[in-house]
């Protein structure tokens, strides 16, 4: 498999300013050193509770904000080319190499991500205009093309965002994102503001576009079943760290981290057969300003030992499977422990 993006020890700390001189007194460790390789053409899902750093990862990748340290290496399509570290690249240099528009983002709430004072045709045309010169006739054709791709028609060109329903607005946001022929799209909770029936429409649309243009998706969500439906690989994050990475089937079949177990058992299911004993975690996510020592999950983990409070576990392969990695000291015993403590789940 061909790599497209590699995150190396990526960190993002938001400073907290204090005192008369507004000096930095502390920082929110939103993203505390993550390593991740993303392959071309896959859909990687990032799941976790709010405040675990999912959105920060997405925003750091498309450089909406600058990473504190670490590297984001982008591998262009030409096969033998070495990676380009885009973390410290200026925007003019980026334009020279032809990287602009290669990464796009779709935001959570389509009501706030579309400018209410712009016509739909201008919203979709904006990224095309900034990318380079284009004749107005070509632009018009391209915009209509994009609208058709996402299931809207040219009747919608001269309307404002408020005239559309939530699902249609999200379609417009998707059309805007694919306008520049991107290779990577970061989807930050694209369906969480939508109803279930519309959510299904958007998910199917995203799947169709992915196959059509061979896109790479980074799908950020807190909804595990949505991510299962669309992703090939899943990353589970907790408090700025990756706790488990695996292929979707492998992760759902045998999760190895207690947190992943808890997340799965928290999914309310509509099927009577699936309703099993719940593992309900006690307490809340600790503050990312002072994350706990050792394994970050130990304060809520039902199986925490002394070693968990002292040492931070590494992401290690499970059963010698390099695709499935987990950061837990007791990962080997976890399935048995769960079985013993909570019964059959």
């Amino acid at each position: 498999m061909e790599k497209i993006l590699e995150l190396k020890k990526l960190k993002k700390h938001y400073p907290i300013l204090g005192g008369v001189l507004r000096r930095q007194v502390n920082s929110v460790k939103a993203l505390d050193g993550i390593d991740l390789t993303i392959n071309r053409g896959e859909c990687i899902g990032i799941v976790g509770e709010s405040g675990c750093g999912k959105t920060t990862t997405g925003k750091a990748i498309i450089k909406l904000h600058k990473a504190t340290s670490g590297k984001i290496i982008y591998y262009p399509k030409a096969v033998s080319s070495p990676g380009i570290d885009i973390t410290r690249l200026s925007s003019s240099k980026q334009r020279k190499i032809g990287l602009t528009g290669k990464m796009q983002m779709v935001f959570q709430d389509p009501t706030t991500s579309l400018n209410p004072r712009m016509l739909i045709k201008n919203i979709i045309a904006e990224p095309l205009r900034t990318q380079g010169r284009i004749s107005s006739r070509q632009l018009h054709e391209k915009v209509i093309n994009l609208l058709n791709l996402v299931g809207l028609t040219k009747d919608h060109l001269l309307r404002y965002p408020h005239e559309f329903s939530g699902g249609q607005r999200q379609r417009i946001a998707v059309a805007r994102a694919i306008a520049t022929n991107p290779e990577i799209i970061v989807l930050d909770e694209p369906t969480s503001a939508l109803d279930v029936s519309v959510q299904a429409q958007i998910l199917n649309l995203l799947k169709k576009l992915k196959n059509e243009f061979n896109l790479t998706y980074i799908f950020i969500t807190h909804h595990l079943l949505v991510v299962k439906y669309i992703s090939t690989r899943i990353v589970v994050m907790y408090l700025g760290k990756i706790v488990e990475i695996a292929n979707t089937e492998a992760l759902f079949a045998n999760p190895a981290h207690p947190y992943t177990f808890a997340l799965f058992s928290g999914i309310p299911s509509t099927d009577a057969k699936d309703i099993s004993n719940r593992i309900v975690l006690t307490g809340d996510v600790p503050s990312p300003i002072n994350p706990p020592q050792g394994c970050r999950f130990h304060t809520r983990c039902p199986f925490a030992m002394d070693i968990c409070k002292k040492n931070l576990p590494d992401l290690a392969p499970v059963n010698n499977n390099s695709q499935h990695r987990v950061a837990c000291h007791r990962s080997r015993e976890v399935p048995d422990l769960i079985q013993a403590t909570f019964g059959n789940t």
């Binding site: 509770e49 709010s50 329903s165 699902g167 249609q168 109803d195 279930v196 029936s197 519309v198 959510q199 299904a200 429409q201 998910l203 199917n204 807190h222 909804h223 595990l224 079943l225 949505v226 299962k228 439906y229 759902f252 808890a262 997340l263 058992s265 928290g266 999914i267 309310p268 299911s269 509509t270 099927d271 009577a272 699936d274 309703i275 719940r278 309900v280 975690l281 006690t282 307490g283 809340d284 996510v285």
Partner: protein
């Protein structure tokens, strides 16, 4: 099973500049004593308007135009029922938060940021349990070996407690309250109310409740805030608890905690009946006994949870269930074509017909009557008529 709540042909309209929004179109259902009833549907289908009409807190362009809401608080005797729509505002004020409590969707918006947690929960006791608290304080005061020495009534305000107990509406009482020295006569009641909220928070599984009651909402996390909102609703020991999207803004693990808490409270008989409103079908499947599915201001299917989820009858319910990603999902996800209709100009006849796969000619003309499938399972569709 006796019914605690019977809603019949409820109609609520909103008079906006664009026209009349027909938010509820003859909604009828009932909630049993000791059961959890779930109301599901997409946004804008009228779930929240239904319970707001029930509590009569529909906001101003909205008007409740017809129907009956029968509330019978006594589980033994169903015949003692009150039609809430015929009651006065002061009666409703006494009922709200007392016999019927409501948990609102957004805990951030439901809590007052400048009041401590203790004051906010205590308020519920102060307004609805004032009599009991005054009686308790006076009893403790006369008791020579008082177990709570900090709750003391000072000699100046003691007569006020007696008047508040015996003649709360008298002119003299209103006059005395205006005197600056006596203005804070009810401090003892407030303090007792805060003490009571500590106990309540402890039963809801909040660590160090003594400390929490003196904190402000911003000190707490989302899940804790939702527990506080539940505590406020439970303070007056309601017979019916309405949870309006109580877990929608919470994370999965916290949502699991809150749902567990509600189930536990029901098991311990702290709450008897719950009316749960949600758009999450999974939450309904796990917590409710009976379910009503709403679409565009109509109730299209009512029934037992398992009847609805295992054997859905209405095309909308079927389509809705098919569009939810499942644990064992394989293949394409089904979606419902089109959008939820605008309720200013709802489609004629059955409101679902423009999106329905089984649409017939008569669906476009008149609204289908409700027909019984079996036992408790009712559906409003011509396919079964």
């Amino acid at each position: 099973m006796t019914k605690i709540l019977k809603i019949k042909d409820l109609v609520t309209n909103f008079y906006t500049y664009e026209g009349v929004v027909k938010a509820l179109n003859k909604v009828s259902f009932h909630v049993n004593h000791g059961a959890t009833f779930g109301l599901v549907g997409e946004s804008g289908c009228g779930k929240s308007v239904t319970v707001r009409s029930l509590m009569q807190i529909v906001q101003s362009p909205g008007v409740i135009e017809g129907g009956q809401i029968h509330f019978s608080p006594d589980p033994e005797n169903e015949s003692i029922s009150i039609d809430l729509l015929k009651q006065s505002e002061s009666f409703m004020q006494d009922l709200r938060g007392n016999q019927i409590s409501m948990i609102f969707q957004e805990p951030n918006a439901a809590l007052n940021p400048i009041m401590t947690i203790g004051e906010q929960i205590g308020e519920s006791y102060y307004f609805h349990r004032k009599r009991q608290i005054i009686e308790k304080i006076l009893k403790l005061d006369t008791d020579p070996n008082n177990p709570f020495p900090e709750i003391k009534v000072n000699r100046l305000t003691k007569p006020l407690y007696h008047i508040a107990l015996n003649h709360p509406d008298s002119f003299l009482f209103k006059l005395l309250k205006k005197i600056p020295v006596l203005k804070k006569w009810d401090n003892g009641i407030l303090r007792t109310a805060v003490e009571k909220s500590v106990e309540l928070l402890a039963t809801l599984g909040i660590p160090n409740p003594e400390k929490i009651v003196h904190q402000y909402p911003h000190n707490l996390s989302g899940g804790m805030k939702q527990r506080v909102v539940i505590a406020i609703a439970l303070a007056s020991e309601p017979v019916l608890l309405i949870a309006d999207e109580a877990t929608s803004n919470l994370d999965v693990t916290v949502q699991a905690q809150i749902l567990d808490l509600l189930n536990e409270l029901k098991k311990d008989k702290i709450i008897s009946s719950i009316l749960l409103i949600t758009h999450d079908l999974g939450v309904v499947a796990e917590t409710c006994d009976r379910v009503g599915v709403m679409y565009a201001g109509n109730l299209c299917e009512v029934g037992n949870v398992r009847q609805i989820f295992d054997n859905p009858k209405h095309p909308y319910t079927k389509a809705l269930l098919a569009s939810v990603p499942k644990v064992k999902q394989t293949g394409e996800l089904n979606s419902i074509a089109g959008n939820v209709p605008n309720l200013v100009n709802p489609p004629s006849g059955c409101r679902f017909h423009p999106r329905c796969d089984h649409v017939m000619e008569k669906c476009k003309q008149a609204f289908p009557p409700t027909s019984q499938i079996d036992g408790d399972h009712h559906v409003a569709c011509y396919l079964y008529n």
